[in-house]
């Protein structure tokens, strides 16, 4: 290797006593390699740097020496110097090849075919992983997690990146067993109310629009009767709407703690290089005792981008009685909506005790009322 870099010359010594040339080389401190005796001379090679000196001495001593071949990097460069395009094109080509090896040129899905494989590739593309992506910038672990969430049909997934190739190994979820036929059931009222709408899909209606029902009353019977009077058990299904009245109570401490933003916002900018982060501005900061952070990533691709963090300083303050009431009102209204549907009218009252506040919330709701009740046996 070093011999090639330094260059070497193959010589042909045709003197009657060629050993004289070997002695000359040793006297000049030049090592000789590959000395082979042939019929009419000696073939050997010496380093290119010493060749000129040796030939001069040999000529002075009358030793007949002929240069057979010049090999090595210096001679190659000398030959290339007359072809500048080749001389610059070769290193440029090598540089381009090494730069290209930093990017992904082959993205394949193993474990799925056809439309499913295309869907996975599309999901990868949406997350910035495609042919031409900077390979170092791909965070395989977070990509796996994102894909598992985004594609529910996946059982597991592994993203392996080796050089310029990305292999996505996956297993699809098995199709579940056929659902069992629905068990016969009645549709009953889950709370007291006044029926305002009823559309029966299966079963036999037990009530009519305008009827008042109590919790547990049957709205739709779980059977159907044919023309001959035979009853066939079915699972009752219907679209119901009822007006119902709810009364809810809640209690809390007389004072509650709430977050109060002071309005002070500070911004930090980070540069993203692949998986590495470099803070750009500011270099240092004293953080307040209580703050929350909003992180916004603005990036052209996974490999390069800008990360902006906004810290919002806040303090916690004790809220007086009225504000405790607001908290309770919001909580009770949310609960009423989850039970009874849309709130039509409401009333809210607060009772202040020694150490607690009790809230009473009454409302009129409009929403579905029916729930299935399977028959025994």
């Amino acid at each position: 290797m070093w011999r090639y870099i330094g260059g070497f010359v193959t010589l042909w010594v045709t003197d009657a006593r060629p050993e004289r040339f070997l002695r000359l080389c040793l006297r000049c401190g030049v090592g000789v390699r590959g000395v082979r005796r042939q019929e009419d001379g000696l073939r050997l090679s010496v380093r290119a740097g010493a060749c000129g000196r040796l030939l001069t001495h040999a000529e002075r001593l009358g030793i007949e020496v002929e240069v057979l071949r010049r090999q090595g990097l210096p001679f190659l460069l000398q030959r290339l110097s007359v072809r500048p395009v080749l001389a610059f094109g070769l290193p440029l080509c090598l540089l381009a090849l090494s730069a290209a090896s930093l990017f992904l040129w082959d993205v394949r899905v193993v474990g799925a075919e056809g439309a499913q494989a295309r869907r996975v590739l599309e999901a990868l593309r949406e997350r910035g992983v495609h042919v031409g992506t900077y390979a170092e910038g791909v965070d395989a672990e977070s990509l796996q997690n994102e894909l598992l969430v985004a594609l529910p049909e996946l059982k597991w997934i592994a993203v392996n990146i080796r050089g310029s190739r990305a292999r996505v190994h996956l297993r699809l979820r098995d199709e579940g067993p056929e659902p069992l036929p629905a068990a016969p059931a009645d549709l009953v009222a889950e709370r007291d109310g006044l029926i305002t709408a009823l559309a029966v899909f299966s079963g036999t209606a037990a009530v009519q629009v305008g009827d008042t029902v109590a919790a547990g009353d049957v709205l739709v019977y779980g059977y159907e009767t044919d023309v001959s009077g035979v009853r066939t058990p079915v699972r009752a299904e219907a679209w119901t709407r009822a007006r119902s009245w709810l009364s809810l109570r809640a209690q809390t401490d007389a004072c509650v703690r709430r977050v109060h933003y002071t309005g002070e916002r500070r911004q930090t900018l980070w540069m993203v290089f692949g998986k590495k982060l470099q803070k750009i501005w500011p270099w240092s900061r004293i953080y307040p005792s209580e703050y929350d952070t909003i992180t916004v990533r603005e990036s052209a691709s996974l490999s390069l981008g800008l990360l902006r963090e906004v810290d919002r300083t806040y303090t916690t303050v004790l809220c007086p009685y009225e504000q405790a009431g607001q908290v309770l009102y919001a909580a009770l209204r949310a609960r009423a909506e989850s039970i009874g549907g849309e709130v039509c009218s409401e009333s809210f009252s607060l009772t202040e005790g020694e150490s607690a506040v009790t809230a009473r919330y009454e409302c009129e709701c409009m929403g579905p009322i029916g729930t299935a009740l399977e028959k025994d046996g």
């Binding site: 090592g31 000789v32 590959g34 000395v35 005796r37």
Partner: protein, 96 residues
């Protein structure tokens, strides 16, 4: 004569220390590997070279290597390596 005395002292020192004499004296060290390779380390030169015989100058000693298809892989001022089929290696003491 002076050289002879120096070598004698070197031999005595090497024997006392239990190390090769080349540690103390500038003498060629000859090693033969499997009848196909001969290495000489130390000051040496080539007096004669043909495909069947190589005469190596090692100062006080001369080494005559006989065989067939002999060629010199490397010759430097402090080392020499001959390859080929080696049939015999003779040591001759230089006169004077």
């Amino acid at each position: 004569m002076k050289k002879e005395k120096k070598h004698r002292l070197a031999r005595a020192a090497a024997a006392a220390a239990g190390v090769p004499v080349t540690v103390f004296a500038d003498l060629p060290e000859i090693s033969l590997s499997g009848g196909r390779e001969l290495r000489v380390e130390g000051p040496c030169g080539v007096l004669l070279y043909t495909g069947q015989c190589i005469l190596i100058d090692g100062g006080e000693l001369r080494l005559c290597v006989r065989g067939a298809g002999l060629w010199l892989d490397f010759i430097g001022t402090q080392a020499l390596c001959a390859r080929g089929r080696i049939d015999s290696v003779e040591i001759e003491r230089a006169e004077g």
